[in-house]
Symmetry: D3
Subunit: 280 residues, 6 copies
């Protein structure tokens, strides 16, 4: 679906590191052409993400493979559910199996963990955000997995949002100076967020015209106080070691967003397998 | 240390996805040249891995940065320990921070989890192996992290080892035919492993001259029986949903190796931060 | 100055297309090592831009070349002014000459044209913006040249700003629906601009909560009316066939920004030459 | 039509710099599949060039797009003329629009300027040549645009022709030595041109056996004298600040070629737009 | 047949170095579309190898070309035999001709030389191996040509086999220490070979548990003695300046393998031409 | 020596195919830093070529390696001659050894074979040319080796010379039409050669104004007749199965050039080894 040079570069790396000079086993044993069909199966309950990436792995490996999704990105499925089929030359299906699974399992693991956090926010108008704490090289697909799980994406990188922290404030002299200096240099389409650890900083950020105020490592009651004081003059984001036990309290403090690094840095692989059905 | 085109390609991807058209914040706020020194600090007990990768991130971002390791790959450190310093232009240090941390935290997370498994094997002559269930594109550095944690690497990919499974046996007609066919095609320097689920398959694998026999999803007592029957005619590997509770029993069954996919597919990031010390 | 993979890829393309299998002339005639120094000289009054790109051309061609800037990015210089020197092996200096000049002349041409527009805005608080009408592959350096000329950059591409136009409104059903839908999907750090051709659309955009309103192809008096009605509830941008004769009137209508595509799509090369001074 | 790795690399750069991590607007608003057809329309009289490049932009972005040219490379069209249609998924058409236009407008701008110069030569047997003063990375497509405009290409780069200038002569000792030395080293299929500023140099170049003599910055009458003296022993090229006012006089001096750098370094974009016709 | 990024990179290099900025001759002379069919013909007896590579050259150059093999990889053909046809646009067929032939001729040359060595081993159970003395960048296709000729591949590179030589032994202290140290570090699927120049080293290698013993530059009688002493405890490989005259004696000494560097470093091109049949 | 993206791409391919996921042997055995010096030694008489390429292999593998040439490109050396030294970390020197040797041996093999042909031309004014029958991807370094051996390069590829053959003539209608058509389209710096098999074609080529006439597969006496008839109106090249026995007769027929494909397609590796001198 369109050009995705970075994803393709990553798939290329992944196939190259696994296949190298060739899949010795299938090359030696599948010397006659044989077609197989295999099925991706959930071995536990999970939220699905990465079907299109798995499909792309096979289409780059061998364009004659046919991938057919049996469910949708973001679907909640139970153990035993059949997620997709892949059909094609036995050599290609077996050679691509591990790489496709490695993508699918990681992305579904992130989507599943995200959904747990989203569920904890049910009924609140607060939105869940991810962070830049993603696996190097997988930023875009991990952020897609967060969306599949029902979360929203914070900025994609350093280029589509300004985030002013301690060291930046030190360098500029004050929050006011930092916001003004940044506003001059950046495109008019990009907002400025200021990381605040206390009310004094919050007041300075609002006075400086920050678009978003991050309430960093504050207790829910202090956050509530800050949100009330701000009165909608800026968006608010709760951040800092928020987990499944504490996320609801943060949301109830009235912030617009909570951001959770663990969605991507502490997700574990969802259990998905590939079962070869039949050899034609 | 030598040419590492795949690692460099991954670092390039990781920097590109984070920096894109530029780090808006530091470019706007660090308009005057300023040198900083910052310190990587462990925020929990962990096994260190990835210092050289973090160093390479900065050297590719800006060759004038100086990275200095304060501990070694594989070291066990406690909370608060200072792992390395990075000095250089403030812009470069702050721009590279997240990417370097993302690498270092993931690799140290894997090394830490690996060490827990190695500890469970203490006193046994059995060795811990990783698998091919790694994050796509990060195979080599995740396997390096396993080594840092005290584990050993199974084959790097499909090219440096033969692994004969169900579908391969079906395609070849029998274990014997599969082993013979593979032996003819592969370099003499590469070994053949056969995945066995029961004693019948074990006997066939040994008869066929397999170099390594994988005992897949067997109970410790069945594994012990298999190992005794094999009598050193092949190496043995225990595999299949082995975890910290069950790994010792598997090892005590007498196998040469146990392999654990979770080392890489279910490791979570170790908690490491970068503290900017001073601005010169 | 940090990693710039896209710029380096462009320089590589530019050197490759010019040098191909080798610079026949210098390879044939400079068979003995010889050092030369050469001088970049302005042959007309201009605003300088691209010195660092010219330096990078030579450093990639031959790391032993030494480039020394004699003026700064954005400086206004008169005819005859000496902009920089390049010293190094005669072969390398002569081989890189044309590519370096092609970059420097185009960027300085853009900076010079931008400065003319900026001058027309003197005394106004309105800022000059560029557009996405840049030479393919040169987006970032052409936008750098606009900054050198005193202009500001609009969004860098499709990824760091939302711009809702006719076709998007048609697809979403209304301006209100389009803004709401976009707000849900995009990072909280990114703003939404709506292109408006009349007051009715302006009113809808403001009601929908647009961050920026583009006043497209309106007369100065209609723009003034729109700006007054908006009363600071959104930023305003004048756009559409604005040139050196009309830009001041647009600015005086009170808009925050005027954007001018011609800065990059209709700039001509500034006249700069490389004079070889001496052969050592 | 065949492999064009350099063009594809440039298109990839151009799409990447514009799309980056995604077209936020169309991704947010075109969430349901929709097909559109759009039309490239000339907004002024111009000479068409770059239709195949525009087609390639869309086919690389999304192979399901269909591009249909309605006129030919090099055609002279008047305002309002419909140049081509593009049909495909709305997302892809809108995402590729700007990049395709940026190519098409620049190339048509060059073709249009070239045609003006060619018209000035009508009735003369003298041919118009371009130079190496092209936009970095766009050499081949800008030279194709010159051909579309009716001009001819001088050498493509440093590798397919020898051009001996002052510094080369200095290095070799004399014109005679330079020509002899070059002849020995270069393929027999490549010619040698010598840049001459006066009759003395012309005489030396002819004596040395130069294949082409460049008459640099000479007045028409001095050129005429040189051409008569040469008597067909070499091809002749007039060069140096020739423009639309002076080109005919240069041609009438009898030279075989006139070369004009402005064709590529001072062309401005032709005015072409993309109108979305209907959404299916 | 699956993803082959290294082969494609090589083909890309080969086409780029030949075509550069364009095939001047065919572009100038085939201005009207014309379809041709051409035939690859053996001009001497040879063993065929490289048909799929030749096909890939054309499919990358122009996907509309149709390549049809008329014989199989490894076939022995006599002079005049028709090996394959290529049909497509005249421009593409003529432009790709030389590159396709250069691949096909080199690979067939290697296959032919290999077959001569294999014939010399007829009736022996000893197998012929290649080495790492291949043309840089062509490792995989030259090793494929060896297989087409009936030979077997030794390790593909430094990553899929351990080969302990003099300098390694010096570094480790002894053969025993070297083997033990290597065994600890490498994947369990990879074997260790020790290069031995005399019986003392052979005894040490066997004692150390080497998997393969290379008998380097030994006379047939000394090799026979070594093989008898080893008694199947390790595989044996004869190596060192073995040629068509001496290979049989080496094999008759009882070794499992003989390796011959000349298969790849001293093969000459097989004589194959492309005859254009007709122009449609 | 300047930018050589194609050579670097080839070296990268060559190192990658040999090293892959790592040099298992040296990584396992050289765990402590050790410096070595090694010497490239000629094991037979040969003409040296490729020292700079070998140096570049090591510098790309490990910039801390130091390569020191002990002789020059094109030198004739006898058996035992020391050609260069390489010093650096033992791991790097041993890992790069084979790749460096594979380049050096092939290039020296070509230079040696070329010199034999050049010697056969001694005293004649006829020059030896290579062809496009080079190893795919190695065109430029094989042509450099020909120069090292005393030969001259024919065109580098399809882009720097026109060569009109049978199929082109058929397509154009006649030799006259083909030459005229080509002349119109190509840069004025490039010459046109026509392949002629008989005097009739020679006469047509001269009449059409060909710059070079190739006398293809003609006997020396027919060539002599053609050369006399041409009387210097075009350069002449003898081509077609010319070897060491026949080259002198061809030259004595008076042609300006003889071209010999075997220089590159049938050269065998020169025997060069790397001897490790000492470990520091």
């Amino acid at each position: 679906m369109g050009t995705q040079p970075q994803l393709d570069a990553l798939i290329e790396l992944a196939l190259a590191e696994d296949i190298g000079t060739g899949d010795l086993t299938t090359e030696a044993l599948f010397t006659k052409p044989a077609q197989v069909t295999a099925r991706f199966v959930a071995r536990e309950s999970l939220v699905v993400s990465g079907l299109d990436v798995a499909a792309r792995v096979f289409s780059r490996l061998d364009p004659s493979c046919r991938f057919k999704a049996k469910t949708k990105e973001g679907a909640v499925v139970t153990q035993g559910r059949h997620l997709a089929t892949i059909s094609g030359p036995a050599q290609s299906v077996l050679t691509g199996e591990r790489t496709a699974l490695n993508f699918l399992r990681r992305m579904s693991g992130i989507a599943t963990l995200t959904r747990a956090h989203v569920n904890a926010l049910k009924g609140s108008r607060c939105r869940l955000l991810d962070t830049r704490k993603t696996t190097p090289g997988l930023r875009q697909i991990e952020k897609a997995a967060v969306r599949a799980g029902g979360g929203h994406n914070h900025r994609m990188g350093l280029f589509d949002g300004v985030m002013i922290k301690d060291n930046h404030i030190l360098a500029a002299g004050s929050i006011a100076k930092a916001v003004t200096k940044a506003r001059k240099r950046i495109p008019p389409t990009v907002k400025i967020e200021v990381e605040c650890e206390n009310m004094k900083q919050v007041r300075q950020a609002i006075a400086a015209g920050a678009d978003i105020v991050m309430l960093d490592n504050m207790s829910p009651s202090r956050m509530a106080k800050a949100v009330q004081w701000i009165q909608g003059r800026a968006l608010t984001e709760a951040s800092g070691r928020i987990n499944l036990s504490t996320i609801r309290a943060a949301a109830d403090a009235g912030v617009d967003y909570v951001s959770v690094g663990a969605l991507t840095h502490s997700a574990v692989a969802a259990d998905i397998a590939l079962d070869v059905l039949k050899q034609a």
